[in-house]
């Protein structure tokens, strides 16, 4: 059976790896050896074929161990280990299990504990590295850490746990592979402290924007994306879910770009083929959309650039040289742009994430939206949305059901017996404005009863 690249780890894909410290990182299975730094390294072919969500432990050949120990101090280990998938464990979790922890909880208070720092840990970091190299699995590693910490039994249960988790994160050699979904990509950017790149949008805000935009597999959406492609990928994911060849689905996304060339670098992590993206996504710049040319003008421009070459002759040719084909392509793209800029009342939703002055923007591009369809704007700040709402949309009879919304997700520490809200200092995840474009009826056209 062939590997389904949407559910299973495949070659030549971007993947996300969760490390024991719970952080997400992006790797590519094109790489022969994937190195996780202090958490080890392995051959990427070893993980191909397993379902996404699998946890692997890195184990090293016995005969390598001695060599490893010698090398340890000086340089980085060079021979990758073997990535062994954890089987018979449906949880596939990197967390330290309660079984291991609960065996070691005896002391009841920290009244007598005086912090002696790291001096009390009999196992040195080097010892631990050694243990680690010698195929020590997580649970063994941890019981070693426990029995070698003279003060461990004096700590409170809580500080014992904290201590173990800290050590575990530092020394264990395992990892989990996740598909590079938009949701996991967001977590990756969060871990990288790079949310500014996607306008500080939170998972809950993008989720709400997608729902309010009523994304469907066969819809045509007009989008501005200042999240480097994250918004586009999120929309594509809801429409196609990674599958490129389903003939029953044929929705498109039209992107209005600020610059000549769209900046959608995050889209590469979607693993979609270039052909698919080309078919599904159209680009048009604000200039091409709002200051459109007509066919006559394009023909004139073609003549000027190509020094009196006749486009009709080129089009009529059955075979064209590459240069001729490029010229035809240019002409056809100009024609398609003109068509887009003339197609009003067409799109099933207007989905915006942009720094442009919103009143002006919505005023000029809402004409492209099909009446009765949603307009959904994300903004990192509240003021521009209030301004758009109060100073434009609410004063204009072409917009209905104007709402400004904020949603935020509160994570809890989810350990039984210790459930409490987590204090996170993350940004607020932004605001959304939604409304429906409608058709205003001139009051004078109505008969008085």
């Amino acid at each position: 059976m062939a590997i389904d690249p949407i559910t299973h780890i495949s070659f030549d894909k971007y993947i996300i790896i969760q490390l024991p410290n719970e952080l997400y990182k992006i790797y590519n299975t094109f790489t022969e050896v994937i190195g996780l730094g202090k958490y080890g390294s392995f051959y990427s072919k070893d993980i191909v074929g397993y379902p996404y969500g699998t946890v692997f432990d890195i184990e090293y050949e016995e005969n390598d161990t001695e060599d490893q120990n010698k090398k340890q101090k000086g340089k980085k280990e060079e021979t990758p280990g073997v990535a062994i998938p954890r089987k018979d464990d449906t949880a596939q979790s990197l967390e330290i299990t309660d079984d291991i922890l609960s065996n070691n909880f005896n002391s009841e208070s920290n009244r007598l504990l005086i912090d002696q720092g790291s001096s009390i840990q009999k196992l040195s970091n080097e010892d631990i590295e050694l243990l680690k190299e010698q195929n020590t699995r997580a649970d063994k590693l941890i019981s070693n850490i426990i029995s070698n910490n003279g003060n461990f039994q004096l700590k409170t249960k809580q500080s014992q746990q904290k201590y173990l988790i800290r050590k575990f994160r530092k020394f264990s050699k395992c990892f989990k592979v996740e598909r590079c979904t938009p949701q996991n990509l967001l977590k990756f950017l969060m871990d990288k402290n790079d949310l500014l790149r996607i306008n500080d949008i939170s998972l809950e805000s993008i989720a709400l924007q997608l729902n309010l935009s009523n994304i469907q597999p066969n819809g045509n959406y007009l989008v501005m994306d200042e999240t480097g492609g994250f918004l586009i990928y999120s929309i594509l994911e809801r429409m196609y879910g990674g599958k490129e060849d389903d003939e029953t689905k044929n929705g498109t996304i039209t992107i209005i770009t600020e610059t000549e060339h769209p900046q959608l670098d995050l889209l590469k992590y979607s693993n979609y083929s270039d052909e698919f993206l080309k078919k599904t996504i159209k680009y048009i710049s604000v200039m091409e959309l709002l200051k459109p040319q007509n066919e006559e003008f394009v023909r004139a421009e073609f003549l000027r650039i190509n020094e009196d070459l006749n486009i009709n002759e080129l089009l009529a040719l059955k075979e064209r040289s590459p240069l001729q084909q490029r010229k035809v392509n240019w002409f056809e793209r100009q024609m398609s742009l003109i068509k887009i800029s003339n197609t009003v009342d067409y799109y099933d939703a207007l989905v915006l994430q942009t720094d442009f002055e919103l009143k002006e923007l919505v005023d000029r591009i809402s004409k492209y939206v099909k009446p009765g369809s949603p307009i959904v704007v994300f903004c990192k700040f509240r003021e521009p949305l209030l301004d758009l709402s109060n100073e434009y949309l609410m004063k204009n009879l072409n917009f209905l059901n104007v709402k400004i919304l904020q949603t935020s997700c509160r994570p809890y520490q989810t350990k039984r017996g210790k459930i409490h809200p987590l204090m996170t200092m993350k940004s607020n995840g932004g605001w959304l404005l939604s409304c429906i474009k409608v058709i205003y009826q001139d009051i004078n056209s109505v008969d008085k009863e």
């Binding site: 729902n211 029953t248 009446p371 949603p374 209030l386 919304l405 949603t407 058709i439």
Partner: protein, 368 residues
């Protein structure tokens, strides 16, 4: 809001699908009539149909043939204006919506303009239009659930229980197949009928009534999933990859997910349990851990709506001026004060200053 759809009506297929380029409202379409933010009504349009609103009666024939998103207006007679006014008093926020005209209390006879909008149903608007048969999962929550479960058009989703069917509509829009279960027989029947009217039942696809399996994708069952599990007659293998449990005791249903014919055994799968109380969450976590689920996380979604408001801004100098005037008036006596004031105004007008303009209240737009 009252559902005005007849029990046995079968509107046109594709009620929740984007319209084509023409975007025209047809006879027998299921539409949502937007009367105000809090009054959105589902209606199936007939040539002879009538729709009663606070703005009077609209004929369905006035709506059929219009574009979706159209405003349909009419002039109200004075009786309706009065009713409208009373309504507006109660609910000031809705003032802009549905009614335009000068606020003229003296001339009740003057005709006012009232209007409705005809909208294509979306799951979110449908949720707003629902009579609350059971508690509803609101869009703040449901959108997050969809995203966290990573539901795409390839996902097979299990939902228990169906409840009002509000969330089912949202899942159905996004997912591949939706298996939904409801233990309350009457509610199951209501929901099934609704799904059928909305063209969302997978059976209709099997029966050839529609060829869009992206839309007709709901399989509904009357079932207590806690006692009787998730397996159903229609399919041998549910192959679910996303599960949403909105049950009083989800921990009783969780072991039933272990049957290998329920969840997809060959890929990563996700479950979301929705509970109001912490004690329920605690039991749910216990059951999830016992049944081999990992990476368990409890979260809470807090959603809010904002509105711009007008705020008073007062100037210190204005206040001082008012007080000075009051004092002078008292010291001079009322008649002297008037004389004095007159003289002073005359003097100041020459200088182009209008001292009388005690505009204490200036308005600014602000929000809470």
């Amino acid at each position: 809001p009252v559902v005005e759809i007849e029990k046995k009506e079968h509107p046109n297929q594709g009620a929740f699908v984007h319209t084509d380029y023409e975007n025209i409202v047809k006879e027998n379409d299921l539409v949502l009539v937007y009367i105000s933010k809090t009054n959105i009504r589902p209606v199936v349009l007939h040539k002879e149909g009538r729709l009663n609103t606070k703005y009077g009666t609209f004929l369905h024939s006035e709506i059929i043939g219009k574009q979706y998103g159209s405003q349909i207006g009419k002039f109200l007679n004075s009786n309706q204006v009065n009713r409208g006014k009373r309504h507006n008093k109660k609910n000031k926020d809705e003032k802009k919506e549905g009614e335009v005209g000068e606020e003229n209390n003296d001339e009740e006879d003057e005709k006012k303009f009232g209007f409705i909008h005809v909208l294509k149903p979306t799951p979110e608007l449908w949720t707003l239009s629902l009579p609350h048969r059971t508690q509803i999962v609101y869009t703040f929550d449901s959108s997050y659930i969809t995203e966290r479960l990573q539901i795409t058009s390839l996902s097979n989703v299990i939902e228990a229980g169906t409840g009002s069917g509000s969330l089912s509509h949202q899942f159905s829009r996004t997912c591949g197949k939706l298996f939904t279960y409801e233990f309350h027989e009457v509610r199951k029947q209501q929901a099934e009928l609704e799904f059928q009217q909305h063209g969302l039942l997978y059976q209709d696809y099997l029966d050839g009534k529609t060829d869009d399996k992206n839309v007709a994708n709901i399989i509904i069952n009357h079932r207590d999933v806690c006692k009787d599990g998730f397996l159903i007659d229609q399919v041998e293998n549910i192959n679910a990859d996303c599960v949403f449990l909105d049950l009083p005791a989800p921990w009783e249903a969780i072991p039933n997910l272990n049957d290998p014919r329920v969840m997809n055994q060959n890929k990563q799968v996700r479950v979301c349990c929705f509970s109001p109380c912490f004690e329920q969450v605690d039991k749910t976590i216990e059951a999830l851990e016992l049944n081999g689920w990992g990476s368990i996380e409890m979260v809470e979604i807090q959603g809010r709506n904002f509105e711009g408001r007008k705020r008073m801004v007062k100037s210190i100098d204005d206040a001082i001026k008012v007080l000075c005037d009051q004092k002078e008036r008292r010291n001079l006596g009322a008649s002297n004060y008037r004389k004095y004031k007159k003289v002073r105004n005359e003097l100041q007008e020459k200088d182009g200053i209008n001292d009388d303009e005690h505009d204490l209240k200036r308005l600014k737009t602000n929000s809470i």
